[in-house]
């Protein structure tokens, strides 16, 4: 297993060089849907962190028992179990937030990031590496969500995390908190990230 990245590499790669959202374009459904407020986006990132961490650890523990043709089913069932836990937890302790996020919490089950990390890392490497990979990828995911949500919330409502940052006279760009704003913001930010990456390389 000499060619596999170490735990530390896995951790750092997830944050920027292999950012799940900007570089791998995975899990775009929550990225677009829950980013009309920073608070919702951070709750989603927390949920993903929990699910990804637990799923990666469990899959890594049972990696020698996995049969190749059944592994995707095992992945999804493991993920579905943890998503149920998160969903019940949010409904119990953060009822309003769970109402706002609606179906997007259960949709974490089919989020490609988690299945991809189980497949690429957890089903091949040790528990510690898998856990640090999960934390790194989740931090990268949180960073991406935060960047999109900040732009959308500040331009759309003049608020950040519920506090007013732009003057009262700011004409709210309603389009930013509506579905089209999600596509436009993410498209432009993705273009900016590509541009910076290309400049760094050249």
């Amino acid at each position: 297993m000499a060619d596999q990245p170490t735990a530390f590499e896995r951790f750092t790669q997830g944050i920027l060089p292999e950012n799940p959202v900007y570089r791998q374009l995975l899990g775009l459904c929550p990225v677009l849907a829950v980013t009309n407020s920073v608070q919702g986006a951070m709750t989603m990132a927390g949920a993903v962190l929990f699910v990804l961490l637990c799923a990666n650890v469990i899959i890594s523990l049972i990696r020698d028992l996995l049969k190749p043709h059944l592994r995707i089913v095992i992945f999804t069932l493991t993920i579905a179990t943890f998503v149920t836990i998160v969903d019940r937890f949010l409904a119990a302790y953060m009822y309003q937030m769970s109402k706002n996020l609606g179906p997007y919490i259960p949709l974490i089950i089919v989020n490609c990031i988690i299945i991809c990390r189980c497949e690429v890392c957890a089903s091949k490497q040790s528990v510690f590496t898998a856990a640090s990979d999960a934390v790194g990828q989740s931090l990268g995911f949180a960073l991406a969500l935060a960047s999109i949500a900040s732009v959308r919330e500040i331009l759309g409502t003049g608020m950040f995390f519920g506090f007013r940052v732009l003057p009262e006279m700011w004409p709210d760009w309603v389009i930013m908190v509506l579905p089209p704003g999600a596509f436009l913001t993410f498209g432009l930010l993705l273009g900016a990230v590509n541009w910076v990456a290309a400049r760094k390389k050249g």
């Binding site: 374009l25 995975l26 775009l28 459904c29 677009l32 849907a33 009309n36 995707i72 089913v73 999804t76 069932l77 579905a80 179990t81 998503v83 149920t84 969903d87 019940r88 706002n100 609606g102 179906p103 259960p106 949709l107 089950i109 089919v110 989020n111 490609c112 299945i115 409502t157 608020m159 309603v174 389009i175 908190v177 509506l178 579905p179 089209p180 704003g181 999600a182 596509f183 436009l184 993410f186 498209g187 432009l188 993705l190 273009g191 900016a192 590509n194 541009w195 290309a198």
Partner: protein, 264 residues
């Protein structure tokens, strides 16, 4: 008559107004990945419509027969082990996500086997997309919507029946097909454009999707208008009440439910 109006409203709303891709953002991965050519987009769209209808049938059946409290099958099996009153209280909705994802994987697998065996030509055209569909959020999203309309309602009489659920799923799939085919048409033309290098690929697709999504917002309020028109048509003789002006469908939908508190 009312039932037909209901079905029609659900269909229009699922296919156009609250388009799965452009309003709810589900199924974005294939929307960006498989929208390079029109024929592939049509294949993907039809495959999704096909699977989503089957999955909706399965999930509606599972929800009403097994998962919700007082579901017939659960109560019957539970009746062997406990008193009928206790059996009627068994609530298995906590298992719903696991059950749905299992139903989706199973239906995708069976559809693939069936199509490959009996319709080889069809399999060639959209068979390759079938395994991808398991992780397509649109399918699970349809199942969850159906579940919330079956078990989440306060009044049991409002719960959706099989017809409404299948309408939502089928027309949701049609809406997905419309969106992905339009996108593929635009992207075929985009190949001849001079796009800045940083925006090439996914970025320009997302921006185009944003503009498409704005265009689809033009359908906002169609359902309210249609409902008023149909209702007043069928009830015109009895109750010629004019359509209330203050309903103003446009603003009520533009400011979505989640953002209402910040805007009022």
């Amino acid at each position: 008559m009312n039932y037909l109006i209901d079905i029609m409203l659900i269909a229009v709303s699922a296919a156009l107004i609250n388009n799965f891709v452009l309003y709810y953002f589900v199924g974005i991965c294939p929307f960006i990945g498989v929208s390079r050519q029109i024929d592939m987009a049509v294949g993907m769209g039809l495959a999704v419509t096909f699977v989503i209808s089957i999955a909706a049938f399965l999930s509606w059946t599972m929800t009403t027969m097994v998962l919700i409290p007082a579901a017939p099958l659960t109560a019957w099996i539970g009746g062997f082990f406990m008193s009928p009153e206790a059996a009627a209280k068994i609530d298995l909705t906590i298992l719903s996500y696991i059950v749905y994802i299992f139903a989706i994987s199973a239906s995708v697998q069976f559809v693939e086997m069936y199509v490959r065996r009996f319709f080889p030509a069809l399999y060639k055209s959209f068979g390759v997309f079938l395994p991808l569909i398991t992780t397509n959020c649109a399918i699970l999203f349809a199942c969850l919507t159906i579940m919330s309309n079956v078990s989440g309602v306060d009044n049991p009489a409002d719960a959706w029946d099989l017809g409404r659920s299948l309408t939502l799923a089928f027309f949701g799939g049609i809406g997905f097909t419309i969106a992905i085919v339009i996108m593929a048409g635009i992207r075929e033309e985009l190949d001849f454009c001079d796009i800045p290098p940083a925006l090439r690929g996914a970025a320009i697709t997302l921006i185009v999707a944003g503009i498409l999504s704005m265009a689809f917002m033009g359908f906002t309020g169609v359902d309210t208008g249609l409902k008023n028109a149909l209702k007043s048509d069928s009830a015109a003789q009895i109750d010629p009440k004019p359509i209330p002006k203050d309903e103003s469908p446009l603003t009520s939908v533009i400011i979505g439910e989640t953002d209402k508190k910040e805007w009022s």
